[in-house]
Amino acid sequence: MFWTSYFLAVLALVLAWPVPVLLSRAEWPSRAPFMAMVLWQAIALAGGLSMIGAMLVYGLEPIGDNLIAGLRSLAGMVLHNEPTTALGFWHLFALSAAALLSAHLVFTLLLTYVKIERQRRRHRELLALLASPSDDGPGTVVINHDSPVAYCLPGGARSVTVLSDGLMAALEPAELRAVLIHENAHLSQRHDLLLWAFAAWRQALPWFPTTRLAQVAVNSLIEMLADDVALRTESKGTLIKAIAIVASGSARPVEHFAPPGTSGQDASPENSSLSGTGGADSPRTTASRVSRLLSPKPPLPAAQRALVLAASAMLLAVPTGLLIVPGLLG
Protein backbone atom coordinates (compact mmCIF):
# COMPACT_ATOMS: atom_id res chain seq x y z
CA MET A 1 0.00 0.00 0.00
CA PHE A 2 3.06 2.17 -0.09
CA TRP A 3 2.58 3.07 -3.74
CA THR A 4 -1.04 4.04 -2.98
CA SER A 5 0.09 6.96 -0.85
CA TYR A 6 2.46 8.16 -3.56
CA PHE A 7 -0.18 7.84 -6.22
CA LEU A 8 -2.68 9.79 -4.10
CA ALA A 9 -0.07 12.47 -3.36
CA VAL A 10 0.60 12.87 -7.07
CA LEU A 11 -3.12 13.02 -7.77
CA ALA A 12 -3.59 15.68 -5.08
CA LEU A 13 -0.74 17.71 -6.55
CA VAL A 14 -2.07 17.43 -10.10
CA LEU A 15 -5.55 18.47 -8.94
CA ALA A 16 -4.18 21.37 -6.92
CA TRP A 17 -2.32 23.03 -9.73
CA PRO A 18 -2.07 21.98 -13.41
CA VAL A 19 -5.59 20.61 -13.86
CA PRO A 20 -7.45 23.66 -12.51
CA VAL A 21 -5.15 26.00 -14.44
CA LEU A 22 -5.89 24.16 -17.68
CA LEU A 23 -9.60 23.96 -16.97
CA SER A 24 -9.83 27.65 -16.12
CA ARG A 25 -8.26 28.49 -19.49
CA ALA A 26 -10.39 26.07 -21.47
CA GLU A 27 -13.05 27.41 -23.78
CA TRP A 28 -15.55 24.56 -23.59
CA PRO A 29 -17.00 25.30 -20.11
CA SER A 30 -19.05 28.16 -21.55
CA ARG A 31 -20.51 25.66 -24.03
CA ALA A 32 -21.48 23.20 -21.31
CA PRO A 33 -21.64 25.09 -18.02
CA PHE A 34 -23.43 22.34 -16.17
CA MET A 35 -20.82 19.73 -17.08
CA ALA A 36 -18.05 22.14 -16.15
CA MET A 37 -19.71 22.67 -12.78
CA VAL A 38 -19.83 18.91 -12.18
CA LEU A 39 -16.14 18.64 -13.11
CA TRP A 40 -15.09 21.46 -10.75
CA GLN A 41 -16.91 19.77 -7.90
CA ALA A 42 -15.27 16.45 -8.72
CA ILE A 43 -11.85 18.14 -8.80
CA ALA A 44 -12.41 19.76 -5.42
CA LEU A 45 -13.73 16.60 -3.76
CA ALA A 46 -11.11 14.31 -5.31
CA GLY A 47 -8.38 16.82 -4.44
CA GLY A 48 -9.38 16.96 -0.79
CA LEU A 49 -9.84 13.21 -0.59
CA SER A 50 -6.47 12.37 -2.12
CA MET A 51 -4.65 14.97 0.01
CA ILE A 52 -6.00 13.51 3.23
CA GLY A 53 -5.89 9.94 1.90
CA ALA A 54 -2.22 10.17 0.91
CA MET A 55 -1.16 11.28 4.39
CA LEU A 56 -3.37 8.73 6.08
CA VAL A 57 -2.14 5.83 4.00
CA TYR A 58 1.50 6.86 4.43
CA GLY A 59 1.10 7.22 8.18
CA LEU A 60 -0.66 3.89 8.64
CA GLU A 61 1.70 1.97 6.39
CA PRO A 62 3.67 0.18 9.17
CA ILE A 63 0.62 -1.01 11.09
CA GLY A 64 -1.77 -2.32 8.45
CA ASP A 65 -1.81 -3.76 4.97
CA ASN A 66 -4.63 -1.46 3.94
CA LEU A 67 -6.43 1.63 5.16
CA ILE A 68 -9.12 -0.22 7.08
CA ALA A 69 -6.70 -2.57 8.83
CA GLY A 70 -4.44 0.39 9.56
CA LEU A 71 -7.25 2.43 11.07
CA ARG A 72 -8.23 -0.55 13.20
CA SER A 73 -4.69 -0.87 14.60
CA LEU A 74 -4.58 2.87 15.16
CA ALA A 75 -7.85 2.75 17.07
CA GLY A 76 -6.34 -0.01 19.21
CA MET A 77 -3.35 2.21 20.00
CA VAL A 78 -5.50 5.17 20.88
CA LEU A 79 -8.23 3.38 22.81
CA HIS A 80 -6.32 0.56 24.52
CA ASN A 81 -2.93 2.18 25.03
CA GLU A 82 -1.21 -0.40 22.85
CA PRO A 83 2.43 0.39 22.08
CA THR A 84 2.97 2.90 19.25
CA THR A 85 6.57 1.95 18.62
CA ALA A 86 5.74 0.70 15.13
CA LEU A 87 5.07 4.27 14.04
CA GLY A 88 8.06 6.45 13.27
CA PHE A 89 8.21 10.21 13.57
CA TRP A 90 7.15 10.85 9.96
CA HIS A 91 4.26 8.42 10.22
CA LEU A 92 2.93 10.19 13.28
CA PHE A 93 3.52 13.52 11.56
CA ALA A 94 1.51 12.44 8.50
CA LEU A 95 -1.32 11.10 10.66
CA SER A 96 -1.52 14.30 12.68
CA ALA A 97 -1.46 16.37 9.51
CA ALA A 98 -4.28 14.29 8.03
CA ALA A 99 -6.35 14.73 11.18
CA LEU A 100 -5.65 18.45 11.35
CA LEU A 101 -6.45 19.00 7.68
CA SER A 102 -9.74 17.09 7.96
CA ALA A 103 -10.74 19.04 11.03
CA HIS A 104 -9.68 22.29 9.37
CA LEU A 105 -11.81 21.59 6.28
CA VAL A 106 -14.91 20.63 8.25
CA PHE A 107 -14.48 23.52 10.65
CA THR A 108 -14.03 26.06 7.87
CA LEU A 109 -17.10 24.75 6.09
CA LEU A 110 -19.18 25.18 9.25
CA LEU A 111 -17.66 28.56 10.11
CA THR A 112 -18.34 29.88 6.61
CA TYR A 113 -21.90 28.66 6.90
CA VAL A 114 -22.41 30.45 10.20
CA LYS A 115 -20.91 33.67 8.82
CA ILE A 116 -23.04 33.56 5.70
CA GLU A 117 -26.18 32.81 7.68
CA ARG A 118 -25.50 35.68 10.07
CA GLN A 119 -24.94 38.10 7.22
CA ARG A 120 -28.10 36.93 5.46
CA ARG A 121 -30.22 37.21 8.59
CA ARG A 122 -29.03 40.77 9.13
CA HIS A 123 -29.63 41.56 5.46
CA ARG A 124 -33.15 40.12 5.64
CA GLU A 125 -33.91 42.15 8.81
CA LEU A 126 -32.90 45.36 7.09
CA LEU A 127 -34.81 44.47 3.93
CA ALA A 128 -37.94 44.00 6.04
CA LEU A 129 -37.59 47.62 7.11
CA LEU A 130 -36.30 49.16 3.90
CA ALA A 131 -37.87 47.35 0.96
CA SER A 132 -41.48 47.17 -0.11
CA PRO A 133 -43.21 44.24 -1.81
CA SER A 134 -43.22 44.37 -5.59
CA ASP A 135 -45.97 43.63 -8.08
CA ASP A 136 -43.74 41.07 -9.75
CA GLY A 137 -44.88 38.25 -7.57
CA PRO A 138 -44.26 36.90 -4.09
CA GLY A 139 -40.69 36.86 -2.90
CA THR A 140 -39.82 39.98 -4.87
CA VAL A 141 -39.18 43.30 -3.15
CA VAL A 142 -38.18 46.74 -4.32
CA ILE A 143 -35.60 48.87 -2.60
CA ASN A 144 -35.18 52.60 -2.94
CA HIS A 145 -31.88 52.98 -4.78
CA ASP A 146 -30.93 54.79 -7.95
CA SER A 147 -28.52 52.38 -9.63
CA PRO A 148 -30.00 49.41 -11.43
CA VAL A 149 -29.44 46.51 -9.06
CA ALA A 150 -30.88 43.01 -8.88
CA TYR A 151 -29.83 40.21 -6.59
CA CYS A 152 -31.30 37.33 -4.70
CA LEU A 153 -31.04 36.49 -1.04
CA PRO A 154 -31.32 32.72 -0.62
CA GLY A 155 -33.03 31.31 2.44
CA GLY A 156 -35.35 28.42 1.65
CA ALA A 157 -38.95 29.53 1.93
CA ARG A 158 -37.82 33.04 2.86
CA SER A 159 -35.76 33.49 -0.30
CA VAL A 160 -36.23 36.91 -1.76
CA THR A 161 -35.29 38.68 -4.98
CA VAL A 162 -34.40 42.34 -4.55
CA LEU A 163 -34.83 44.90 -7.32
CA SER A 164 -33.94 48.57 -7.10
CA ASP A 165 -36.06 51.53 -8.22
CA GLY A 166 -33.25 52.37 -10.62
CA LEU A 167 -33.54 48.94 -12.23
CA MET A 168 -37.31 49.19 -12.64
CA ALA A 169 -36.85 52.57 -14.28
CA ALA A 170 -34.03 51.49 -16.59
CA LEU A 171 -35.43 48.22 -17.91
CA GLU A 172 -38.24 47.45 -20.33
CA PRO A 173 -40.80 44.92 -19.05
CA ALA A 174 -39.26 42.06 -21.05
CA GLU A 175 -35.79 42.89 -19.74
CA LEU A 176 -37.10 43.01 -16.20
CA ARG A 177 -38.70 39.62 -16.76
CA ALA A 178 -35.36 38.24 -17.96
CA VAL A 179 -33.65 39.54 -14.82
CA LEU A 180 -36.31 38.01 -12.57
CA ILE A 181 -36.08 34.64 -14.30
CA HIS A 182 -32.30 34.80 -14.00
CA GLU A 183 -32.47 35.51 -10.26
CA ASN A 184 -35.11 32.86 -9.67
CA ALA A 185 -32.90 30.34 -11.45
CA HIS A 186 -30.15 31.09 -8.90
CA LEU A 187 -32.63 30.37 -6.13
CA SER A 188 -34.29 27.29 -7.58
CA GLN A 189 -31.02 25.67 -8.67
CA ARG A 190 -29.60 26.29 -5.19
CA HIS A 191 -26.51 28.10 -6.45
CA ASP A 192 -26.02 29.41 -2.93
CA LEU A 193 -24.90 25.94 -1.85
CA LEU A 194 -22.23 25.85 -4.56
CA LEU A 195 -21.05 29.34 -3.67
CA TRP A 196 -20.91 28.37 -0.01
CA ALA A 197 -18.91 25.18 -0.61
CA PHE A 198 -16.38 26.84 -2.91
CA ALA A 199 -16.06 29.92 -0.70
CA ALA A 200 -15.26 27.63 2.21
CA TRP A 201 -12.84 25.62 0.06
CA ARG A 202 -10.95 28.80 -0.78
CA GLN A 203 -11.11 30.09 2.76
CA ALA A 204 -9.65 26.81 4.02
CA LEU A 205 -6.76 26.58 1.52
CA PRO A 206 -6.22 30.11 0.21
CA TRP A 207 -2.69 29.43 -1.05
CA PHE A 208 -3.75 26.66 -3.46
CA PRO A 209 -4.30 27.87 -7.02
CA THR A 210 -7.14 25.40 -7.38
CA THR A 211 -9.32 26.96 -4.70
CA ARG A 212 -9.14 30.47 -6.19
CA LEU A 213 -9.58 29.33 -9.77
CA ALA A 214 -12.48 27.08 -8.76
CA GLN A 215 -14.27 29.91 -7.00
CA VAL A 216 -13.86 32.29 -9.92
CA ALA A 217 -15.03 29.62 -12.36
CA VAL A 218 -18.02 28.65 -10.25
CA ASN A 219 -19.05 32.31 -9.90
CA SER A 220 -19.15 32.68 -13.65
CA LEU A 221 -20.68 29.25 -14.39
CA ILE A 222 -23.70 29.88 -12.17
CA GLU A 223 -24.33 33.14 -14.05
CA MET A 224 -24.24 31.24 -17.34
CA LEU A 225 -26.59 28.57 -16.01
CA ALA A 226 -29.05 31.24 -14.88
CA ASP A 227 -28.71 33.03 -18.24
CA ASP A 228 -29.58 29.79 -20.01
CA VAL A 229 -32.77 29.53 -17.98
CA ALA A 230 -33.72 33.10 -18.90
CA LEU A 231 -33.02 32.37 -22.57
CA ARG A 232 -35.68 29.68 -22.61
CA THR A 233 -38.39 32.33 -22.53
CA GLU A 234 -36.72 35.65 -23.32
CA SER A 235 -34.82 36.67 -26.43
CA LYS A 236 -31.06 36.91 -26.50
CA GLY A 237 -31.12 40.65 -27.28
CA THR A 238 -33.35 41.31 -24.27
CA LEU A 239 -31.07 39.42 -21.93
CA ILE A 240 -27.86 41.02 -23.25
CA LYS A 241 -29.36 44.47 -22.88
CA ALA A 242 -30.49 43.71 -19.35
CA ILE A 243 -27.03 42.43 -18.39
CA ALA A 244 -25.32 45.41 -19.95
CA ILE A 245 -27.61 47.91 -18.25
CA VAL A 246 -27.16 46.28 -14.87
CA ALA A 247 -23.39 46.08 -15.35
CA SER A 248 -23.10 49.68 -16.47
CA GLY A 249 -25.10 51.03 -13.60
CA SER A 250 -27.07 53.30 -15.91
CA ALA A 251 -29.46 53.02 -18.82
CA ARG A 252 -27.63 55.44 -21.04
CA PRO A 253 -24.86 54.18 -23.27
CA VAL A 254 -21.35 54.83 -22.09
CA GLU A 255 -19.46 57.10 -24.45
CA HIS A 256 -15.85 56.49 -23.56
CA PHE A 257 -14.57 52.99 -23.68
CA ALA A 258 -11.33 52.20 -21.98
CA PRO A 259 -8.56 50.78 -24.12
CA PRO A 260 -8.42 46.98 -24.00
CA GLY A 261 -5.21 47.11 -22.02
CA THR A 262 -7.04 48.06 -18.84
CA SER A 263 -9.10 44.88 -18.77
CA GLY A 264 -8.34 41.76 -16.85
CA GLN A 265 -8.63 42.90 -13.27
CA ASP A 266 -10.86 40.57 -11.44
CA ALA A 267 -12.93 41.96 -8.65
CA SER A 268 -12.80 40.30 -5.29
CA PRO A 269 -14.97 37.21 -5.23
CA GLU A 270 -15.06 37.29 -1.43
CA ASN A 271 -18.66 38.23 -1.05
CA SER A 272 -20.53 35.12 -1.84
CA SER A 273 -23.47 34.96 0.45
CA LEU A 274 -25.64 36.82 -2.03
CA SER A 275 -25.71 36.33 -5.70
CA GLY A 276 -26.38 39.26 -7.91
CA THR A 277 -26.70 40.02 -11.56
CA GLY A 278 -24.01 42.19 -12.98
CA GLY A 279 -22.79 44.12 -10.02
CA ALA A 280 -21.56 41.18 -8.01
CA ASP A 281 -19.70 39.86 -11.03
CA SER A 282 -16.18 40.72 -11.82
CA PRO A 283 -15.92 42.52 -15.16
CA ARG A 284 -14.37 39.38 -16.58
CA THR A 285 -17.39 37.32 -15.62
CA THR A 286 -19.74 39.84 -17.18
CA ALA A 287 -17.58 39.98 -20.29
CA SER A 288 -17.53 36.23 -20.71
CA ARG A 289 -21.29 36.08 -20.15
CA VAL A 290 -21.95 38.76 -22.76
CA SER A 291 -19.40 37.33 -25.14
CA ARG A 292 -21.05 33.95 -24.88
CA LEU A 293 -24.42 35.48 -25.77
CA LEU A 294 -23.14 37.75 -28.53
CA SER A 295 -21.12 35.16 -30.40
CA PRO A 296 -22.72 31.88 -29.41
CA LYS A 297 -20.81 28.68 -29.96
CA PRO A 298 -22.60 25.37 -30.47
CA PRO A 299 -23.21 23.41 -27.28
CA LEU A 300 -20.68 20.72 -26.54
CA PRO A 301 -21.46 17.52 -28.49
CA ALA A 302 -23.02 14.68 -26.50
CA ALA A 303 -19.91 12.50 -26.79
CA GLN A 304 -17.74 15.17 -25.19
CA ARG A 305 -20.31 15.82 -22.49
CA ALA A 306 -20.25 12.11 -21.68
CA LEU A 307 -16.47 12.28 -21.56
CA VAL A 308 -16.54 15.11 -19.02
CA LEU A 309 -19.06 13.20 -16.94
CA ALA A 310 -16.94 10.05 -17.10
CA ALA A 311 -13.84 12.01 -16.10
CA SER A 312 -15.69 13.46 -13.11
CA ALA A 313 -16.88 10.02 -12.07
CA MET A 314 -13.34 8.64 -12.40
CA LEU A 315 -11.92 11.47 -10.33
CA LEU A 316 -14.20 10.52 -7.49
CA ALA A 317 -14.02 6.76 -7.96
CA VAL A 318 -10.23 6.36 -8.18
CA PRO A 319 -9.17 7.83 -4.82
CA THR A 320 -12.21 6.36 -3.07
CA GLY A 321 -11.51 2.95 -4.58
CA LEU A 322 -7.82 3.06 -3.73
CA LEU A 323 -8.60 3.89 -0.14
CA ILE A 324 -11.42 1.45 0.50
CA VAL A 325 -11.29 -1.48 -1.92
CA PRO A 326 -8.05 -3.15 -0.64
CA GLY A 327 -9.55 -3.19 2.84
CA LEU A 328 -12.77 -4.77 1.61
CA LEU A 329 -10.92 -7.43 -0.40
CA GLY A 330 -8.34 -8.21 2.28
Binding site: L126, L129, I245, G249, V254, F257, A267, S268, N271
Partner: protein, 128 residues
Protein backbone atom coordinates in the same frame (compact mmCIF):
# COMPACT_ATOMS: atom_id res chain seq x y z
CA UNK B 1 -53.32 44.39 16.09
CA UNK B 2 -50.43 44.81 13.67
CA UNK B 3 -47.59 42.31 13.82
CA UNK B 4 -44.35 43.29 15.53
CA UNK B 5 -42.60 43.26 12.16
CA UNK B 6 -45.05 45.77 10.71
CA UNK B 7 -44.76 47.93 13.80
CA UNK B 8 -40.96 47.87 13.63
CA UNK B 9 -41.19 49.10 10.09
CA UNK B 10 -43.66 51.83 11.00
CA UNK B 11 -41.52 52.98 13.94
CA UNK B 12 -38.38 53.08 11.79
CA UNK B 13 -40.24 55.05 9.12
CA UNK B 14 -41.19 57.63 11.75
CA UNK B 15 -37.68 57.82 13.19
CA UNK B 16 -36.11 58.11 9.76
CA UNK B 17 -38.58 60.81 8.76
CA UNK B 18 -38.31 62.77 12.03
CA UNK B 19 -35.51 65.22 12.64
CA UNK B 20 -35.07 64.67 16.33
CA UNK B 21 -35.24 61.94 18.90
CA UNK B 22 -38.72 60.95 20.03
CA UNK B 23 -40.14 59.37 23.17
CA UNK B 24 -42.19 56.19 23.09
CA UNK B 25 -45.30 58.22 23.94
CA UNK B 26 -44.70 60.57 21.03
CA UNK B 27 -44.18 57.61 18.69
CA UNK B 28 -47.35 55.95 19.92
CA UNK B 29 -49.33 59.10 19.16
CA UNK B 30 -47.79 59.41 15.71
CA UNK B 31 -48.55 55.76 14.96
CA UNK B 32 -52.15 56.20 16.06
CA UNK B 33 -52.41 59.32 13.90
CA UNK B 34 -50.95 57.51 10.90
CA UNK B 35 -53.30 54.60 11.20
CA UNK B 36 -56.29 56.89 11.67
CA UNK B 37 -55.29 58.85 8.60
CA UNK B 38 -54.48 55.98 6.27
CA UNK B 39 -56.34 53.18 7.99
CA UNK B 40 -53.16 51.34 7.25
CA UNK B 41 -50.66 49.59 9.37
CA UNK B 42 -52.35 49.13 12.70
CA UNK B 43 -55.86 49.05 11.31
CA UNK B 44 -58.80 50.35 13.26
CA UNK B 45 -57.18 49.48 16.53
CA UNK B 46 -54.35 51.97 16.15
CA UNK B 47 -55.80 54.02 18.98
CA UNK B 48 -55.47 51.04 21.28
CA UNK B 49 -51.78 50.68 20.66
CA UNK B 50 -50.18 50.47 24.08
CA UNK B 51 -47.03 52.41 24.95
CA UNK B 52 -45.59 49.17 26.31
CA UNK B 53 -45.94 47.63 22.84
CA UNK B 54 -44.06 50.56 21.35
CA UNK B 55 -41.39 50.11 24.00
CA UNK B 56 -41.13 46.40 23.11
CA UNK B 57 -40.71 47.29 19.46
CA UNK B 58 -38.10 49.90 20.32
CA UNK B 59 -36.07 47.49 22.44
CA UNK B 60 -36.14 44.93 19.61
CA UNK B 61 -34.88 47.58 17.23
CA UNK B 62 -32.25 48.60 19.74
CA UNK B 63 -31.05 45.00 19.98
CA UNK B 64 -30.75 44.91 16.21
CA UNK B 65 -28.56 48.00 16.40
CA UNK B 66 -30.96 50.20 14.45
CA UNK B 67 -32.13 52.49 17.20
CA UNK B 68 -30.31 54.19 20.05
CA UNK B 69 -31.62 55.56 23.28
CA UNK B 70 -30.54 58.89 24.71
CA UNK B 71 -29.42 58.08 28.21
CA UNK B 72 -29.87 60.44 31.09
CA UNK B 73 -33.23 61.83 30.06
CA UNK B 74 -36.54 60.50 31.29
CA UNK B 75 -38.66 59.40 29.57
CA UNK B 76 -36.05 57.95 27.21
CA UNK B 77 -35.85 59.48 23.77
CA UNK B 78 -35.09 57.25 20.80
CA UNK B 79 -33.47 57.94 17.46
CA UNK B 80 -32.31 56.01 14.41
CA UNK B 81 -28.62 55.03 14.47
CA UNK B 82 -28.12 55.87 10.80
CA UNK B 83 -30.26 57.14 8.00
CA UNK B 84 -32.39 55.10 5.64
CA UNK B 85 -30.04 55.95 2.78
CA UNK B 86 -27.00 54.75 4.75
CA UNK B 87 -28.65 51.43 5.50
CA UNK B 88 -29.62 51.02 1.86
CA UNK B 89 -26.07 51.81 0.81
CA UNK B 90 -24.80 49.15 3.24
CA UNK B 91 -27.14 46.56 1.75
CA UNK B 92 -26.08 47.45 -1.77
CA UNK B 93 -22.45 47.24 -0.81
CA UNK B 94 -23.03 43.81 0.68
CA UNK B 95 -24.90 42.60 -2.39
CA UNK B 96 -22.55 44.04 -4.97
CA UNK B 97 -19.25 43.67 -3.22
CA UNK B 98 -16.49 46.08 -3.98
CA UNK B 99 -17.39 47.31 -7.44
CA UNK B 100 -17.52 50.99 -6.62
CA UNK B 101 -17.14 52.50 -10.07
CA UNK B 102 -19.72 50.85 -12.21
CA UNK B 103 -18.99 52.81 -15.36
CA UNK B 104 -15.44 51.55 -15.13
CA UNK B 105 -16.85 48.05 -14.83
CA UNK B 106 -18.66 48.41 -18.14
CA UNK B 107 -15.68 50.07 -19.74
CA UNK B 108 -13.47 47.23 -18.67
CA UNK B 109 -15.88 44.61 -19.81
CA UNK B 110 -16.41 46.33 -23.13
CA UNK B 111 -12.65 46.37 -23.44
CA UNK B 112 -12.49 42.65 -22.99
CA UNK B 113 -15.14 41.61 -25.48
CA UNK B 114 -14.12 41.54 -29.12
CA UNK B 115 -14.51 44.62 -31.34
CA UNK B 116 -17.50 43.23 -33.29
CA UNK B 117 -19.18 42.14 -30.08
CA UNK B 118 -18.65 45.60 -28.62
CA UNK B 119 -20.27 47.11 -31.72
CA UNK B 120 -23.32 44.85 -31.35
CA UNK B 121 -23.51 45.76 -27.71
CA UNK B 122 -23.36 49.47 -28.42
CA UNK B 123 -26.10 49.08 -30.98
CA UNK B 124 -28.28 47.19 -28.52
CA UNK B 125 -27.76 49.77 -25.81
CA UNK B 126 -28.13 52.72 -28.11
CA UNK B 127 -31.52 51.68 -29.44
CA UNK B 128 -33.44 53.61 -26.85
Amino acid sequence: MASLGELERAVMDLLWAGQEAATANKLRDLLAQDSAATDGIAGHQGKDLAVTTVLTVLSRLEKKGLVERERGTRPHRYQAVSSRADHTADLMHEALGSAPDREAVLARFIGSVSESEAATLRKLLGKN
